[in-house]
Amino acid sequence: MSVNPGLIERLRERGEAPDVTLARTYMPILQLDENEPYPPLAMGYSVFRAPGQSPSSKFQISPRGAMTIEYAVWYDWDIQHLFDLEHVWVHVDGDGQVIGVEASCHGNRVEMIAGDGLPQMAGTRPMLISEPGKHAHWASADILRDHPGAEVGAMCGELAGRDGVHLGNRFAESGAFTATPADHRLARLKNRRDAFVPSFEFSPAADDIALVSWPELAAWIPARVRHLLATLPDAVPHIRAVFLDCGDTLVDEGTEVKLPGSEIVVAGDLIDGARDVLDALAARGYRLALVADGPRETFENLLGKHGLWERFEAHVISGEIGELKPSPKMFSSALDRLGIDPTNAGSTVMVGNNLSRDIRGANDFGIMSVFFKWSDRRTHLAQNPAETPGHTITALDQLPPLLDMIEQRLGASDRGRMEAVA
């Protein structure tokens, strides 16, 4: 049986490294907000008995006394991204007394002082406040609360998940891990699900943080990130695919030119925003399938000429399938070609302009339906409940924020089901 190297247990299994007793003696106690979703998991220490470059941060270390112990603190998540590595530096004199504590705070190294030149101490261990969601260090809760410009609440709420997967670190920069657009989206989604209102009441983190040498932690982090990325799709309910119609959804049917004497369309203009929306969906890593009625040549001509044919991972076209929407065959084929189990149809979305074909077909199949109410060439009135769209948009720029909203609600049964306004 293969062993997943990204599990925290793998780190705990490491043998005792030199100086571990020393590191344990001065190990910082981090105090977390009561609503903090992301506790620290591990610390990687380095002991400096002479000046030197920190192995895990951009800073030079100059011991003020006999030694400085650097703790690189690993959290899986910051409220705005996956990957978070913070730092604490404890300066110790020849008598073993702590004579100074510095710590990372939004990219800076800041002296931690809450009176008498030190933060609050529990014996030899400094006690630091870990900023809600962001994990910047503060010497006391009062200092954090009084700090002007700290938009902690916004970062933990509206701005949660802003960055996706953090790539501005030595591991990603050296290629130890990377992230696809879908990884970024799912990371953002998880952060947004975890968005919270800080209490600004703090209590010590559980004392089960793995303490290892920095090389051991550094060796583990890439595996850890890869593990987190690999488990995200199952951990975070998300939209598994977006199915799009073509005529009057991406291409203006009013501009279509047909091959004389045939039903094959040879040219047509894109609807305003069609390229933008496909770019936006691609940037978010949505899997896209074209689900359209007509001969294949039509769509190759229309989308190919605009360079958009290749944006779709699958092309499900009635001319090839042999049936038109709302036939379930069109939708089952789309799921099949993307390798999505039909039981997960409820986490896919169909976008189209035709109530009796796109919307009815999606609704019947249990796919979420989005009606693009744009052209007047088809009716806007549902003839029966099966044609009633789950959602309606009137411009393509509305689709990405709508998918964001749908995705945030997926799997959130405690938050209630969708309800139409008006």
Binding site: H147, V152, E158, D272, G273, A395, R415, G416, V421
Partner: protein
Amino acid sequence: MRATTGIPMADEMTLFAVGAGATVTAWALSALITRYYPGEPALAEDRVNYRFINGFVDVGDLPCRIALWSEIETRKVELKNDWTVESFNLPGFNRRLDFSGFWHRPTRLARWCRTTLVPPETGDYAFRLATCGGVHIWVDGVLAARFEPFRRNAEQQTDIVLPLRAGGSEIVMLSEDLAERDTNWYVELTALSPVHAGLPVPGGASEADMATLMTLATSVRPEREFQTSGSLRLVFDEPATKHVRIVGRVQQSVHMRDKPPLYSVEALLLPGQSAVMLEGIDALPDGYHPLDLTFEIGGARVERHIGFALLRELAPRVRPETLDERKAEALAYAAAHGELRVGRALAALAGGQPCDGTIEAIILDTLAMIDERRDCSDFVMVPLLWLYGANGDALPQSLAERVRKSILGYRYWVDEPGNDVMWFWSENHVLCFHVSQYLAGRLLPDAHFSASGRTGREQMAVAAARLDKWLTSVESHGLAEWNSAAYYPIDFIGLLALFQWAEGNIKSRSGKLLDRLFTMIALHTLGGVSAGTQGRAYDKELRAGPLTELAPFATVAFGEGWLNDGVAALPMFAAGDYAPPAQLSRHAVPPAGKAFLAHYVQGYETAARLALYKSAAVQLSASVEGGAGKKGHQQHLVDVRFAGHPFARAWVNHPGEDDPWGHQRPSYWAGNGVMPRVGQHHDTALLLFDLGTSPRVDFTHAYTPVDAFDELRLENNWLVLRSGSGFAALTASAPITPVTEGPGARCEFRAHGKRTAWAVLVGELAPRAGLNTVFHMLENVALTHSPETHRAELTRPDRPRLVLDYIQGLSVDGQSKDWTQLTLDPLVTEIGVSPLH
């Protein structure tokens, strides 16, 4: 005496304590120094992508700013001590030394400032310095700090150290900025440890006089929220101790600041008096007027800028029955009473009047604005082109020739060279520039346009392609400046001109957008006043009742309301062919016993989700979701409007600045410093504010002008308002306290706290029911709020339970109130209204 530096002795100074964290605001000021500063003419990069986020596209740096940065690299600024003190800035109403304003051309701004800082003992003292422009500080004649970010309207901060002497050090500061139209020009100097700031007491005044001036400037406000005639009574919190000379001026509107004041008056505030009458406001037209005040005792003088509304008839006149008749009435009114801008000339000529001296003077002023390429000249170019096309024959030949010359010499877009600060980058300006180019080309197809080098025919073709993009964008995304009383009239300038003068597809598309605008206006106008949530709001519209440029459009379109002297676009509506859909009148004036619910979205990527509840007596409008916790701009999010009185309006916001009379974006009343989470369900709105751990302003507040309501009472933490048969009840999770002093007296109620919930309920009262009826109903209504989870819950008998969660948004009886229908065209439904008995 310290003769070498001219430092006054401490006993000749008025000393103001500046605690740690407080700001130095006691300054003697030079006159304002301005200099036209265009930089080298250049082509600007055309960054307009027709995706207007918050109303703008990305701007880039203009030639004037590039020139400034180049100059700063090499310049050396010398200390000047020979300037005359023009006025004083005194502590009281603003933690900043603030000279913000609007300049139409690229302008270098400078002001010398002097104070004396007296520390507890000699030593180095740390200060935090914040500005958007540039600051030099000399201490006792030696340059101690130089900070020159010059980032347009974007505050930058630095920490500085000033070496101060125990007996007091003279501080001379040069504050500079570069104006490209609206300019946040200020200095905020925060002491990080306690000092005193001292001002020399000028001749003829005493230390007590300085304190009097400070109090007067801080507390001055009109006695009433609106004036109806005669005199303007200003009131103060404390009586004067000496004779105070007061000078008041009302300047021309922002587009005509180069003209003499509309109104100028002097008055004397006598010892013991706490109010003064400014006579002669009868000379002014109806309007919301900015009032510049100077208070003077001896040689000591302070300035203050406030505003007031003047509306002579609080009940609107009966308007003619038909749209055509109302258009004719509006045209005649504009021709006779309109502001002296090109719209008045258009109205007069369209009404068949000959070109007289007034019209000629207006046109010459308009041409000057265009020839100098002042900011906003595109707004007057469109009606000028209309006038030239429709009534050019009525102009004297020489004047017509001058108009033609100005048209041909104008800069119509950023791809034509220039070094002006014309604003090409907002939703409304983009339209007006394209329409100008289109009309100019259409009217003069064979002429040579000097800035572009194109013929008129070519200009029209280029403009048509650009207009296609603008129209497509707004057709798809709606308007980022939704419901804006300031900017819908500007959109009308462009769209009405297109409907009148364009052909084919451009004409028909303009007509459809006009229909959409009028639909939104109909929905948000009540009792002749256009109100509701807005994408970009200013105090001058929010507090103006029907005195906005927008309100008369509703009057003409729907037959109820006021006319005023605004001529930005109304004469084009009145003189033109466009007619709004007739059925919209029903939305503007709801039938008794009914209420409309409307939902729609506006702005790129559904920037705003708008909810409306509207009955014949009261309307509640909100922009929900989006941006909670972020720094706000000019978004006016929750608005209540009553049919019973033109100024009966209420809203809740977080102040964006200190000064109740300030003009920042966001300001004290317009927009939000920190955006709240908002939810609305039918007649109820909930707001959750999280101001952060150390907010600049640590309260949220409600605007409820007492003078506009029939009844207003605060009881059991419910603030209840009644106007006619409409009522609103507001409550908050923190104690609501009335502001009893200063500009907030009689209109402001505050709730202190960093995490606060507000609830706003509206409804109608049965005949003879009053506030007691509302309070009786409220006995069973409860707002609960948990600051820990930041979740508010409102319960009311026989109504669904509303929960607003700061993270999750609104739920109604446990179901998330998500927006599944994202449509730009309002979804309107009608429900019955049961008045409270």
